[in-house]
Amino acid sequence: MSAPLSTNELTKVYNLGRKKGTKTALDSLTIDVPEGVIFGFLGPNGAGKTTTIKLLLDFMKPTRGTATVLGRPTTEPATRKLVGYLPEQPYFHKFLTPTEVLSMHAGFAGIDRREIKQAAAAALQQAGIAQYADTPISKLSKGLTQRVGIAQALIGDPKLLILDEPTSGLDPIGRRHTRDLLVELRDQGKTVFLSSHLLSEIENVCDVVAVLKAGKLVACGPPDQVKEQNSQVVIQTSTVGGDAAERLRFAGVTVVDDPGGSALKFDVDYLYRVVMTMESMRLPVHSVNTQRESLEEAFLRLAA
């Protein structure tokens, strides 16, 4: 069975005009998003995340390469029948109410006329804004409008959700609600393609992450795989200076002086060598800790 979302050498080159030349926004992106996972799509500003989403939804044509959504080419409108999309900072006609927006999208999604109201109410309930169903969008806050966008993406029971910064503008309660909703959707067997800058959220909910840097894919896999495999060991000791510090650095240790003494940071692979060196120098061990790279650190290492 084909992946819900797949790209092959997907490339987008923007023509900036005769004098400015071209800019490669996306360079040979090849990814396969497995079914029933939350796929985190990371990258700094201008890395090509939104360009990728626009190519997946046929908002623009790729310069090279192909993409398929639910096993069909992205150029066919019917492909999007089972896709829910939340744009970054969604905009709706301000004179409409959330119910009217969702009824319109329910119509686009091909929901039967008699079931539209019910589907709209269910989506609003899922997004946690049922009480604002008949309030004009112009009267809603940014966070509530964002939730209307989430409800809009859920209408039509999509198999694949493409969400661009879903928690943007949401308060902590809204963020938590959205995070729980994403997990619930994944548990229902839906695939979620999530583009976000909030690395802590990605780390909490994503099963697979991909990191883009300047249009190129620099890492892709489960978060634990993307993060540095080797843990760091931190040994707290008395102040180390002069030749001792030099010997430790030679053994692969980063010596950081702090008020209580010195912290020796090194890769877990060097543990035996470092302990032997400390023993030979009669350095005391005050405490031993291990540190694993967070997704944020991995992101900074990969994309900065």
């Binding site: 046929d58 999007r80 999309y85 319109m104 686009f108 993406a153």
Partner: protein
């Protein structure tokens, strides 16, 4: 068809809230009301003058509505990004363009019908009877407005609202003087190449004069049914072809 109607409905709701729609409708209604004052001074031909002035007002009002609403519909959606969630749905770009056009056309029709209703009441108060020619003249004005709205919508898929408005207005003016001006230019051209260029412009421009049944309304001239049918088919086909070009242009547009 369903997505087209949903987009058209949304477009009507959006257009009917625009200030320009209200201003143009009120301005035209004021012109129609003002025509009664002008016709007071021309005793004997009051009704004829009234019909002439009112039909001209309705035609210009309708054309202005078609240009302003047609040129802003799609670019505003792209600019405000309200288009994204819509075209992410299983609808084609062609359906989107046709829906926006229909929405524009329905809104313009609402305005023109309101103007025509006031005009009809005025004429009835003077003639003490309903003039059936009025329906004919307004009907063909709507077809003319349909052609203008199609041109405006098509150009707006590729250009900014300002450029669209200027180009559509130029085409409207040229289309209104096509037979008299461009027809003469072809005859007067000496070089074969220039003749071909003039002929190309002549045939590409819509013949908007043929929709103008003002004279028939004023003088109650007989207009053959075959001619009316031919003109109506011409107008609808021209609008459909122009709109088809618009859908082709918008299908390639990156949003």
């Amino acid at each position: 068809m369903r997505p087209i109607w949903i987009i058209a409905r949304m477009s009507v709701l959006e257009n009917s809230r625009k200030h320009v729609f209200h201003v143009l409708c009120l301005l035209t209604l004021a012109l129609i009301a003002g025509s009664t004052l002008l016709s007071i001074f021309t005793e004997g031909v009051q009704v004829k003058i009234l019909k002439d002035l009112c039909m001209t007002s309705i035609l210009f009002g309708g054309a202005a509505l078609a240009i302003t609403l047609g040129c802003t519909g799609i670019p505003n959606d792209v600019e405000s990004r309200t288009i994204y969630p819509i075209i992410a749905r299983p609808i084609s770009r062609a359906q989107y363009v046709v829906g926006k056009f229909l929405g524009t056309m329905l809104t313009v029709s609402m305005g023109v019908i309101a103007m025509a209703a006031v005009f009809g009441v005025l004429i009835a108060s003077y003639q003490h009877t309903f003039d059936p020619y009025l329906l004919l003249a307004v009907g063909f004005t709507l077809i003319e407005v349909c052609v203008i709205a199609a041109i405006s919508t098509t150009i707006s898929t590729l250009a900014s609202p300002a450029i669209t408005a200027v180009l559509t207005f130029l085409i409207y003016i040229c289309g209104s003087i096509k037979i008299g001006y461009f027809g003469g230019l072809i005859d007067r051209a000496t070089s074969g190449f220039v003749k071909v260029i003039y002929a190309a412009i002549y045939h590409a421009l819509p013949n908007l004069e043929c929709f103008n049944l003002k004279t028939a309304l004023v003088h109650h001239d007989y207009v053959p049914v075959a001619y009316l049918a031919q003109v109506a088919i011409y107008g609808l086909c021209y609008a459909a072809f122009v709109l088809f070009l618009g859908t082709l242009g918008f299908a390639r547009k990156e949003v």
